[in-house]
Subunit: 187 residues, 3 copies
């Protein structure tokens, strides 16, 4: 069972994934798509992310595709690809799971973790370790874009799409919903 | 002229299609995509829908594609594929016209039948023969998802997308709009 | 750098593009996708747009693809493809950058020029040279559809998507944002 799980910064995705890991132990493998891409890039002599971003677009596409195929061949009982369906960049919203990647990855389900714009804004403002746009207007737009890009990836791949609301203080509930979508059975 | 017509349960799609059938008689053929898929599955020894759903994903995709190709080769003057652009399932919103299906089917136009959330909610609550979520919140989300998945299918196939509002007591008007979109001429 | 720039009639796209042309001079080439398609059609003996629209769908697709490939091979320092992501027609919203076109064109960035529905409605009503729906309801729907189709094209091509608000009296600011997205450097 391969799930692609996206969510914009501040929705609490890591917390939800940690709770699921606590439930499933070694049956669950969580891979970060960006990390797998970087592993693939290293095989081609690239040493860091800045260098990867400066590669020709065609080479970056090949790295994306190799990473997607490596994930598609993973043999975990439950595999989660931790990623974003869209990433806000100076050039605009960059698709995190574009057609050629989601096709190569062939996931079973797609999941977007969402939260209330107010909570996300609050969490971003409180996290002084990173500079991120904490305005409600920006958070609302990012949430909307994450959903729209996920719908596109869903229709391109044929994999069903769930949107899970991670409400304040209810991360356990969100983790339970994710487990249910992934068809987790207790053994 | 091949039209793919979707709409969530409760929008009154069947009523609109019945009215169009009454206008066009044998010039119109309406096929249910799920039924055509089941016909294809039977050729492979599958005997019911539950069995079909338990087939490996790859086999289901092949059945979907065969059904789409059979529809693409139909020779009706006006052909309507009665379907959904997204289907709410326990795994999330399942695309009804994913890329590989809509490409193989190559429709001329895509149409979503919509209605006011209040009317849909009322109709669902009144239909005691089926258990369906009649909450306004759920209906609104399903309507939104139906539209978003239809846009994705439209851009993937290149076929134009219309959204027809089926207002209370105006199903004849909706049927007329559908006829106009399909380029129906009186003879 | 190839940018596909869309926007519904009345957003002030031409003004923004003219301002960018004034900044960049011959470094910028702006091509209208419809014009390039018509050029391709002429090579096949088609003499006007009405004739092109009456061609079999398959031939129109080939013309679209040839035009996209010609654009993909252009060698301008900055190339803008002036187009729409969706076009309102009697058959519904027609995708302006469907999958097969945006794949062949392989743009670096996608941009939607937007504006407030009120301003667009006002401009459309004031432009008596063309008959266009100036109702706020219609303008809002067209703006929404332009964005949704652009998201689909973005996920299909992998190119990032920006939405630039062209506010009343601030077209210079919008042109500056477009320049920045395209990575324009002064020389």
């Amino acid at each position: 069972m391969r799930a692609v799980v996206g969510g914009i910064p501040g929705v609490g995705k890591s917390t939800v994934l940690d709770l699921l890991r606590a439930r499933l132990g070694p049956r669950l493998e969580v891979v970060n798509y960006g990390t797998v891409m970087m592993d693939e890039a290293r095989l081609r002599g690239v040493t860091n992310r800045d260098e990867m971003r400066r590669l020709p677009a065609q080479v970056q596409r090949e790295i994306q595709a190799s990473a997607a195929k490596r994930i598609a061949s993973a043999r975990a009982e439950y595999l989660i690809v931790d990623t974003h369906f869209s990433i806000r960049t100076p050039q605009g919203y960059l698709p995190g799971m574009p057609l050629h990647v989601v096709s190569a990855m062939s996931p079973d389900v797609l999941v977007v973790i969402a939260a209330s714009p107010e909570e996300i804004s609050y969490r971003r403002a409180a996290d002084t370790s990173r500079i991120r746009d904490a305005s409600l207007e920006s958070v609302r737009e990012e949430l909307e874009m994450e959903k729209l890009f996920a719908v596109a990836a869903s229709n391109e791949s044929g994999a069903p799409l769930s949107i899970i609301m991670n409400r304040q203080g209810e991360a356990e509930k969100a983790a339970g919903e994710l487990a249910s979508i992934m068809g987790v059975r207790s053994r």
